[in-house]
């Protein structure tokens, strides 16, 4: 079973993102939304992206990042809310980290 993780908080403030990463599985997907967008600039994101052989899909809601003037990264997919809905049903369950 693969999981969709909705990350809504900044790792600069809370441990939610770190806790998410500790249970992450190889076929899982992450969507950064709300203040989770700030995690694009966090060291944890950097190490996640650099993980060798990682197959975790990392996504950010484009409007949420743009609203916060956060630059996105090449390794992160810019998506819309309808993609989040689609991801909801492409994975077997959803965990919200807030």
């Amino acid at each position: 079973m693969s999981t969709l993780h909705l990350v809504r908080k900044s790792a600069f403030t809370t441990n939610d993102f770190a806790q998410c990463l500790s249970v992450l599985d190889q076929q899982d997907a992450i969507v950064l939304m709300d203040d989770g967008c700030y995690n694009l600039k966090h060291p944890l994101m950097d190490s996640l992206i650099k993980r060798a052989n990682s197959t975790v899909s990392i996504n950010v809601i484009a409007n949420h990042a743009q609203a916060r003037a956060v630059e996105t990264l090449a390794a992160v997919n810019k998506i819309q809310m309808n993609d989040v809905v689609e991801l909801t049903f492409n994975h077997q369950k959803v965990i919200t980290w807030q």
């Binding site: 809504r8 309808n82 809905v85 959803v94 919200t96």
Partner: protein, 122 residues
């Protein structure tokens, strides 16, 4: 059949609720069967008829009401969470509760989770 249940834990005046609404509306537009939204913790504040948000700001309650009317989307308020937050739920014809919302209990959450293949929390 793609069935979805949603839990909302943020109040109507929170920007985080905008995201929840956007997700739910997007799902409904995509033809997903959203079988119900359960308002728990601060989400119970949505039932409060006395909430008055500046007219130039996002009107979350009106948006939920619109979805309820347009899609017959069931909106369930947790009674315990509501009462704790000063929303009187005791009488049948209750003026303190916005009519788009149904006063329910956690039992409704059990119902929703047994019927939905996906549960998403906001």
């Amino acid at each position: 059949m793609k069935t979805l249940a949603v839990v909302v834990t943020t109040p109507p005046y929170s920007p985080l609720t905008v995201t929840a609404l956007s997700y739910v509306e997007t799902a409904l537009t995509a033809g997903i069967n959203v079988i119900g939204v359960f308002f728990y913790q601060d989400g119970a504040m949505h039932a409060n008829e006395n909430i008055s948000i500046a007219s130039d700001e996002y009107q979350a309650i009106a948006q939920w009401q619109r979805l309820q009317q347009q899609y017959q989307l069931p909106l369930h308020i947790c009674i315990t969470a509501a009462e704790k937050r000063g929303i009187a739920c005791d009488s049948v014809d209750n003026e303190q509760i916005n009519e788009a919302f149904t006063v329910s209990g956690l039992g409704e959450l059990v119902e929703l989770t047994t019927k939905a293949i996906r549960l998403v929390q906001f």
